[in-house]
Amino acid sequence: MATFLLIRLLRWSVGLLLILFIAYAMMYYGAGDPIRMMFIQGEDFDSEDEVVMLALRKKYGLDDPFLVQFGNYLNNLLQGDWGRSIRLQVDRPVLEIVQFRLPISMQLGFAATVIGAVAGIGLGILSALYHNRWQDRLTISSVLFINGIPSFVIVPMLLYLLVLELKLIDVPYGWHGVFHVDAMLPIAVISIGVLPIVVRQTRSAMLEVKSQLYVRTARAKGMPESRIILRHMLRPVLTPVATTLGLIMISLINGSLFVEYILNIQGFGLLTIEGIKKVDYPIIMAVVVVGTLIIFVSNFLVDIIYPILDPRVRAQ
């Protein structure tokens, strides 16, 4: 077990290093010079600017050769220095920006996961209990239907419906905390993305459990149906679902990118787009580091948690 985890850890950390290297190389060779871009936007451009540009490049360490820059970046990163933003919020430490942005996305994601989990497990149980009857078919096809619509389509359509047609809400804009009215629409849309995965997994796990002998035994000894569902069926079902819910954090960072962009929520997804549009190296690298790290850690956690939750895996 320990060797298995060690190999996993090695696999993921070497992978992370490789990804950082490739991302840095892409920035260095492809993204363009952020300092020059700063000046192109101003009209006049003279020899004095060249001097300032050189000084600025030196300041951000952009005049070093590629490998030196990458080495410095890694070294600083390990010491908790993520660099300073070059163009997005000039000279502000990137770590500070990340610490401000990430909690917003996490709150959105967490609220959406809770709602998606509650609704999804409920619907999954329902459709498994009514297996192949109309309740099941309706649930599965409507979940498939909702799952099919991209978030960048569903948000504009909901805006049109709720704001222009029904006049129920004002245009939600920006971030005012997770309990503010404006957070309802993004949370609802993100949780729609969570729902199908949870419903499908709960349903299929439930169907598998339904025909188990111990469920038949429980029923044979006269246990009430509600108790059978809660005590005997739900527990083995919740194991894979809990794992999935953990993994859903991955898709939430991706998925909330569009929602945050459309509704101008100052979260991590919007930071990705802003950083890339402004060619802000340290910001883009931070986005890559955090985005990849979250997924790698969650993958690694699955490897650890699964044996703890499921005794059958532990026995192997």
Partner: protein
């Protein structure tokens, strides 16, 4: 069952002991039968077929050129003259939607073709050879799959464009070949390659898994015992058996490619104007959504319908092609 001509008639003993004449169906006929019973999947197939037909003949039946501007007629609602109205520059929305369909179909086919080619090669190689090469290839595909897909695609699209344009500029100055002057198709090439890059690992895993599991089957062992060559086993057993899951994955991949292209163009990173893409039309329409909502709603509804159709089609194929289901 209309395909009965192909099936030989065999006798079958039913539960009550009486003998009835049944039809023997092969896997594909069986799958087609299951598929036709699922009306959502059939609906999805019809929508996808319509989409592909419109994408092919679209520019021929388009009433206007998709770039033709007429500022005097900007922001018109649907009328006899302009079937779906006009956009902020007075361009005919219907013609632009048809052109966008072509973009979407082009992206779907090219991306899936490239990732299927790479994925099948890598997967088959990994599955057959095993060992260190397998370990390495699966590590790479794990890494790509673990990265947030959208982030990877955005990075590739934004960072590879500039060096290629610069490289083409110098190539043009050296060779004076007009080919290097036109970079309009570069948007497409970049979107194809970025999407294929995140698409192949899933297919490689699938192919590898199929190769490994089918090689374990008893009928392959039997064939081997009878002296069949590896080549024969590959052609007669592995490929036909892996086809079903592969068709499902490819359908899902096409839907996913259309989704990602629309999303990228929506963010202003994928297909750039003046090329028409549903995603960029949606983004352009969003600017005026409170005054002229049809500019936003038309592309939004279209993307939604096509995506849902692909999902239902993929789901129906998944159910139909699973040989363990017998109905």
């Amino acid at each position: 069952m209309t395909g009965a001509a192909a099936g030989a008639r065999v006798s079958r003993v039913v539960d009550d002991g009486s003998i009835t004449i049944g039809e023997q169906r092969n896997l594909w006929q069986d799958a087609a039968r299951r598929f036709r019973r699922n009306w959502l999947a059939v609906g999805g197939l019809v929508v996808v077929a319509c989409f592909l037909v419109l994408a092919t003949i679209g520019p021929r039946i388009a009433p206007y050129d998709f770039l033709e501007q007429n500022i005097m007629k900007a922001f018109q609602g649907p009328s006899a003259e302009h079937f779906l109205g006009t956009d902020d520059l007075g361009r005919d929305i219907f013609s632009r939607m048809l052109h966008g369909a072509r973009t979407a179909a082009l992206v779907a086919f090219s991306t899936t073709a490239i990732s299927l080619f790479i994925g099948a090669l890598v997967g088959a190689w990994s599955g057959i050879r095993g060992g260190l090469a397998d370990e390495f290839l699966m590590w790479i595909s794990d890494l790509i799959q673990a990265m947030p897909g959208l982030l990877l695609v955005i990075l590739i699209n934004t960072t590879l464009r500039r060096p290629i344009v610069n490289w083409f500029d110098t190539l043009y100055e050296q060779t004076r070949n007009p080919f290097f002057l036109n970079t309009l198709w570069l948007d497409y090439a970049l979107v194809f390659s970025a999407l294929a890059l995140i698409g192949w690992p899933g297919l490689a895993r699938l192919v590898r898994g199929q190769v490994l599991s089918i090689n374990e089957e008893d009928y392959v062992l039997a064939a081997r015992a009878l002296g069949a060559s590896e080549w024969h086993i590959m052609l007669r057993h592995v490929i036909p058996n892996a086809l079903g899951p592969l068709i499902v994955a490819v359908t899902a991949g096409m839907g996913g490619a259309i989704f990602l292209e629309a999303g990228l163009s929506f963010l202003g990173i994928g297909i750039q104007p003046p090329n028409a893409s549903w995603g960029s039309m949606l983004e352009e329409g969003r600017r005026y959504w409170q005054i002229f909502p049809h500019l936003m709603l038309i592309p939004a509804v279209t993307i939604g319908i096509v995506q849902v159709a692909f999902v239902f089609l993929g789901d129906g194929l998944n159910d139909a092609l699973d040989p363990r289901r017998t109905t």
